[in-house]
Symmetry: C2
Subunit: 248 residues, 2 copies
DNA sequence: AGCAAGACTTGTACGGTGTACGGGAACACG
DNA sequence: CGTGTTCCCGTACACCGTACAAGTCTTGCT
């Protein structure tokens, strides 16, 4: 059953490889995945390569392929690995769903900030690794605690978590661009704004944008973004509350 | 000034190339960008290559490089081109911001569904092409019409548009995976769910997920998603309304 | 002890990628 | 008739993912 490509690493035929304790090289799916995450964090998705990964493990590229079928499979493993990083709010009954949601959203956001490459991968695969599933389960639990009727819960989940995904993605990739340019976020931001403002016709059309930026408050880019995130999350919460009231 | 890399195609030194009317090959930045969009739509970002693009234009790869400095620059041009597709709601004063927001969100969503590759690019570049700027301007205009105080407007924008970005991205990439697998969305969905349900330990942990899916309503995947999107957007709107009330 | 059957590693090679570089053709202007 | 400038292309380089086959080492069986 090699010819028919699976839809995911996680769904391969249950032959979990009769493990030996001591490979000559000490290699192992776990270690490979860990090294992959490290390399991805360091170099970004675009510059990640199997040869570099293998070199970091003191091994040839083809050795890695004993443990992993393709590069994409490895990326899928790496993705699920970082999906296990968010600390999940305890879902004891009686806790306020608003706090749980804030906590979960913050975790999910920082995942994408810490690992910008993960953003580009979540859409590429069916996301059914154990950590991803656990995260989804927790999210469902929290949304269920809002009191929203069952048939509206998937929509509410989409509202909150797609927002956090979008926000974290944008933020993470911005951070990465700054690093690649060798600037701080504030430097990069100021430089970019400077260039844009010089464009012909900018002044006439973007007074509103300027006023918005100015009113936003906060001294650093990071501060402004935090404010935006917190406020947006409160928008989501208030929206859900309104929907709960409207549907009961 | 080639050594110091620009941050964007759009910010290159103002030398807009003294145009000739009749290139021997009929090539042109416009035509190249258009062909790039077509190829990206057909093959996806991963399989897009300069050589294929050039072949489609009856030209060698290196010819394209006369009009465009790098592949990334071309992708940036392609991105801004599709950013011009959303039909913008007319921003006449007196119109209801809720309707404008629904219209704009729907347009923005379908952009990412029609061009899944665009999702992966919005984070990669400073997004300051003319169409992107125009879109941002319209979004700001609509948000301003909510009556929210100025210093909260950027947060509200993030809430709505990062949500739409996330949702459209997920949806578009799912659609793309279906096409690559040669299945309809419903077939793919059913197949994937089938595989996941067979995983050991699934039944014990995901009764809630099953109940949510079942209650969601709608017969096809597309229908269920449309419901989710519409509801989530109403959550955003209700949230903003609540914030307007709370801050005035 | 001998040996066969794995489990693992590696070298080589193929077909692809982005793009630097230099040479040429076609045209414009003195 | 030079002499640029604008545009196009052939070649080449370094790198990529990975198929394939030939190792080597470990284990278990006789």
């Amino acid at each position: 059953m090699v010819s028919a490509r699976r839809t995911s690493v996680w769904l391969e035929g249950k032959a979990p490889r009769a493990r030996k304790a001591d490979q000559p090289s000490g290699l192992d799916r776990e270690k490979i995945t860990e090294a992959a995450v490290r390399l991805l964090d360091a170099e970004g998705l675009a510059r990640f390569s199997m040869r570099k990964l293998a070199a970091g493990l003191n091994v040839t590229a083809m050795s890695v392929y004993w443990y992993v079928d393709t590069k994409d499979d490895l990326l899928e493993l790496a993705l699920d690995r970082v999906m296990g990083e968010p600390v999940l709010p305890d879902t004891a009954p009686g806790a306020d769903w608003r706090d749980q949601l804030r906590e979960l959203a913050a975790s999910y956001r920082s995942l994408f900030v810490a690992h910008p490459w993960a953003s580009s991968l979540v859409g590429r695969f069916l996301n059914v690794g154990p950590h991803s599933m656990e995260l989804a389960r927790t999210a469902q639990h929290v949304i269920a605690a809002t009191g929203l009727p069952l048939h509206l819960q998937t929509g509410a989940m989409a509202s909150v978590f797609q927002f956090v995904y979008g926000f974290g993605t944008t933020e993470g990739q911005f951070r990465q661009r700054c690093e690649e340019a060798g600037m701080s976020q504030d430097e990069y931001f100021r430089a970019a704004m400077g260039s844009v403002r010089e464009q012909p016709g900018y002044g006439e059309h973007f007074e509103r944008a300027e006023r918005m930026m100015e009113a936003r408050g906060g001294n650093t880019v990071a501060e402004m973004r935090d404010r935006d995130f917190r406020f947006a999350l409160e928008v989501q919460i208030a929206g859900i509350e309104a929907m709960v009231a409207r549907n009961s």
